[in-house]
């Protein structure tokens, strides 16, 4: 039989919910969505904001995905991911928006090398097993945004 202490330890780390947010680096504050998403779970929001902001000082203003695990004992843990492929594509293409008619109207170009760099950066988050699959996914996102991919697909 497991000891009382082990039971408590297990309970302490029992997952209560997972919250997926995207917040600007260095700029988390207790407003929505951080406030309502974490506050209702009994998490000390101020603690989250202080940690998130300190850890993202090098990416001020950048929209960063953050996955927060909230545990039953109201403690939390979080992982900050690199910016989403779509954000990186807009940056690489130096445009602020995609196309409303992605098939007919292209608004920008990126090279396959740029696609490869983004794919490698996002590989873990994309659930892609190979870098080729990851590149295809990022290139697909680019096409859906009306960004054409130029050059030769790298190996």
């Amino acid at each position: 039989m497991e000891s009382y202490a082990t039971k408590i330890l297990k309970m302490a780390k029992e997952l209560s919910k997972v919250v997926k947010l995207q917040v600007r680096g260095g700029a988390a504050n207790p407003s929505p969505p951080v406030g309502p998403a974490l506050g209702a779970a009994g998490v000390n929001i101020m603690e989250f904001c202080k940690q998130f902001n300190a850890r993202t000082q090098d990416k001020p203003g950048k929209v960063l995905p953050v996955v927060i695990s909230v545990f039953k004992d109201k403690s939390f843990d979080f992982v900050i991911k690199t910016p989403p492929a779509a954000v990186q594509l807009l940056e690489a293409a130096k445009v602020k928006k995609g196309s409303g008619e992605p098939n007919r109207k292209k608004v920008a170009k990126v090279t396959w090398d740029q696609i490869k760099a983004i794919a490698e950066d996002k590989m873990q988050d994309l659930n892609a097993f190979t870098s080729e699959k990851a590149m295809d996914m990022v290139a697909g996102t680019a096409r859906s945004m009306g960004i054409s991919v130029t050059g030769k697909k790298p190996n």
Partner: protein
């Protein structure tokens, strides 16, 4: 900032990916501040000040044939989202002499007993940085010293400074909730020498202080340090926190640039609180 009313848009997106991702990227450039990914799409938030009726007009993906996107939106009033945690947090005791607790906690037997109702402001003693700043204040002589507390949050550090004999004290925070909360806590602890101001380093013009306390973050400290230093009396001290061990070189370099000398470092779970003198 956090007093602002927000507008929240709930988007349903099909197919979910990459539609949601593209939508978030475009909304981000249009001024939306933050996003929650949902099962059907995304909820996106924008401050009412940044909002206008045509805000979605330029979001190209809404016109795309590849995705079907619908949305509803609503105004969101700011309330105390942290209430759930605040209604039963544990009191904190630092080095056996200073307690930080809520009005509903029993009075402990400590030399300095600070009562805080945080109302979504930072500074309850639970965070490493607050804890270490309290330790710095406890260890140093504050009797009769003039003090500036930048980024006062709940006002906890300014209140402790007064309990240790400091006067006069200015406590400044740019967040309206913190400003109001500092005022409330100053009164709750019967402090008489603390002036609470709403704003940032631009409020500092020709004031002079013996001691400056700032528990904020690396970037703001790096940006405003020169202004703080100009406000220091000779033989003054500065206590800085809100950053990690790895941020020390940048902070120290900036301090040295402005003629400050490093004196002491406290460290807890990679967070640090540094003391400098001029």
């Amino acid at each position: 900032m956090s007093n602002t009313v927000y507008i929240g848009y709930q988007f349903k997106v099909a197919p979910l990916q990459p539609g949601t991702e593209i939508l978030i990227a475009e909304l981000g450039y249009a001024g939306f501040e933050s996003f929650v990914e949902t099962e059907e799409g995304v909820t996106a938030y924008i401050q009412k000040d940044e909002w206008n009726a045509a805000i979605l007009e330029d979001i190209q993906i809404l016109d795309s044939d590849e995705f079907e996107i619908s949305f509803t939106f609503e105004d969101i009033e700011q309330t105390n989202w942290n209430e759930e945690w605040e209604k039963n947090f544990n009191p904190i005791i630092v080095d056996d002499v200073c307690s930080v607790r809520a009005p509903f906690h029993e009075k402990p037997d400590t030399k300095y007993d600070i009562i805080i109702e945080p109302k979504m402001s930072f500074g309850t003693g639970h965070h490493e940085t607050t804890h270490m700043m309290i330790q710095h204040i406890l260890k140093n002589d504050f009797e009769g010293k003039s003090v500036l507390d930048m980024g006062s949050g709940t006002g906890v550090l300014a209140i402790l400074a007064e309990m240790k004999g400091a006067k006069p004290i200015d406590a400044i925070d740019y967040d309206n909730w913190c400003y109001v909360n500092s005022l409330e806590n100053v009164e709750r602890n019967s402090c008489e020498h603390i002036t609470v101001l709403e704003g940032d380093a631009s409020l500092l013009i020709d004031q002079k202080y013996d001691i400056i306390i700032a528990n904020i973050n690396r970037n703001i400290l790096l940006n405003d340090l020169g202004v703080y230093v100009k406000c220091m009396n000779p033989n003054g001290s500065m206590f800085l926190s809100g950053f990690y061990v790895e941020d020390i070189p940048a902070i120290e370099e900036e301090c040295n640039k402005h003629g400050l000398t490093f004196v002491e470092r406290l460290e807890k779970n990679k967070w640090v609180a540094l003391k400098f003198v001029n």
